[in-house]
Amino acid sequence: MVMKKTGFIKMFLLSLFVLVVLSACSGNSKDAQTQPTDQGKKETNTTVETPKQGGGTITVTSVREPDTVDVQRTTWVDDANNHLYEPLVRFDFDGKVVPALAESFEVSPDGLVITFTLREGTTYHTGTPVTAEGIKKSFQRFMDSAPTSYMVGPLEEVVVVSDLKFELHFREAFAPFLSNATTAYLAPLDPSVIDELGDDFGTKASAAGILKLAEISRGSFVKYDTFSDFQLGQGYSQNKGAANFDSVVFRFISDDDTRILEFKRGNSQIMLSVPPNYISELENDPQVELARTLANGHTYLGMNNKKPVFQDLRVRQAIALAVDRAPIVDYALEGAAQALFGPLPPTIPGYSQKVEDQAAQMYGRNIEKARQLLAEAGYEQTNNNGIVMKDGKPLSIELWVTSEPTMQRIAQLLQNQLAEAGIEMRISVQEDATIRAQSPEGAHEMLLWTYGWYDADILHSLFGRGISTRVHYQNDALIEILEKARVEVDPNVRMKMYEDAQMIIVEESPWVPLFVRQNVVAYRDIEGFQVHPITGSIIWSDITKK
């Protein structure tokens, strides 16, 4: 195998050329990866069946790509996958549950039966009529196989009364059900697609929401078209019918800088999850507007109450007293949050101003008092490094925090604040998956974590018997109230129960609530933009492209 001496360069270039040709060929098989935006090169081969309403495609840039658009196969629902679905009920702007896909609903006095009556003439995206029988099928699939099946509680049976009426029969009353039913998780799925595709429902998902699925390109985007037969606009929207544009494309860009540049360049009209460090820049841009809503949960400094050091109430309270929320909100979060002292944020029904005031009064920053409580607990200053000690051991606690830059900044501020009270905090950056897996085992000492939900029953999930996976706090009196509140049908009585439960949590200080984040959404070149103040979800009905 002898070649001419100068032939090798040609050979090398030829090899590269062959590879280029091969790659060009392989590139042709990537229909699903073609970018759908109007950046100028080409359009996708999506068939747009929807008649034009007012025109245009709205591009939304988002951080996280949903694992699937099948809400019965995921635990992650956000704007990118929930507008396909129309739930039976929704929250209005005041947090009251009102009818949506259902025309009305009624809870029996004992709370064991909820009767829903459906609107006449409603269809799914495929044109299949919405009927009680179809909804039963959807519920059955949810109960049999959804990862979030716990959301229906002790639901025993779905009884079809007529074509448009059905009853949910519970083994025992389950008060959080209606709040849960406002989410896309419990929204009815098109039974004809369930029959056709079964577990592959997500590939051609159909439901009754304002947007219908057009195309999914894994790793790139999800495209939705307007559902032209939609007639379920809510009381808070002027337009009760189909949306005023042709389609919406959710592009997934995890890098903050790239996402912001796409938005600033005008390549996207809506940017979800604006990073705190970009808020002031966007505020000063005359072409851009920001919508802010409070999140449905809060970020807290969680103590592992199983650990001996945290079994002393005085230590827990001292930690709470050492924390100063103002610099955390002002600097780490650039003002995009609200300081919180109580266990529930204002966005969850059950929030009590009385509890919040009481907590703020008890745990406003007070370093002197924190030191005093530590001294009473036996922690004294015995050397000159500022860290208190007991039985020859310094009060040194490890904090688990994710790699999110904002959370790390908060951890550093907390580290300094606790050091002033004589507590050493060692920051340990852990992967999100590691914290999720190891904290239920009680492997951590403290963690910086966030919860979110729409119902005060979240307190049961956080402090219930045997299920307190993050703070491992068990208190019989608290658990008793939370369990009673789950089955209490009277909303007023139930809210009073949550107030009592919150008072116990405040006094016992098993964690330190820090702040409620603002969901900051930036938008441009569109009109009629609204975000739901309770759910933080985009309201598409009145949006038009300029």
Binding site: E65, T75, Q438
Partner: protein
Amino acid sequence: MSRYILKRGFSMLITLLGVSILVFLMVHLIPGDPVNYILGEFATEEAVNRLKANLGLDKPLPLQYLAFIGGLLKGDLGTSYITGLSVLEQIVQRFPVTFQLALYSLIIGSICGIVLGIVAAVKQNTIFDQLAMLVSLIGISAPGFWIALFLILIFSYHLPIFPISGYDGFYSLILPSITLGLGTTGNIARMTRSSMLEVIKQDYMRTAEAKGVNVIRLIKGHGLQNALIPVITLIGLQFGHLLAGAVVTETVFALPGIGSLAIQAIATRDMPTVQGLVLFMAFMFILVNLLIDVIYSMIDPRIKYD
């Protein structure tokens, strides 16, 4: 040659088997549980146990490994725990983007690197040499995300020539390829320079020069052929590194390649996808190096494998 390729094919299988054991152990031993991700934090114990049984995660590790290998022998890399999609299908769908990105980066890196290396060697200890080595140093040491943002700001944001992010064919891969290719340029330039310097000192070069062969012919015909052997080895290795190194570039440019898929899969402890991806990358790495070895024998008559 065919005997040699067969022999290498066999050792490739052994290597892949070793990789499969290692990657299987790694993804199962790192902290984090896919069930936690799939079911969320408020799942009941019953649901957790049911899902573990469904995914086969309740079985002992050796049995899980055998099931994985069994599937592999049938050409089945498994199903993603998170998306429910076939791992092989996901790789097939996303690999073209990463492959093109790596290939274009390699072309940019090879051409620029070889040219810079030759200039630096021929003009040793001059300003050209220093400039070439400076470019090479920047290529090697500047972080990929920084170069990417720099290029986006200039050529996509201020001068809207290229798209900022996303995949839309060759055009959208130009900036990512330059980003990724700069590191390769640096490595290849340095290797070409040192290899070329060694060749330039050889007697036959001096003889050719004394015989009056012109400079271009001297470098092309006498120097480059001998100097490029180690460079080609490096190019082969670089291709493997580029496939793996595409992760950062794909993330910044929001490209739907296997790098971004890997990041997502690791974060969500999607074991089948991680296993499938690592095995696939190992296979590609070995394959490219085999190809390079074959190319050696074609360009250098002194190398014979039989």
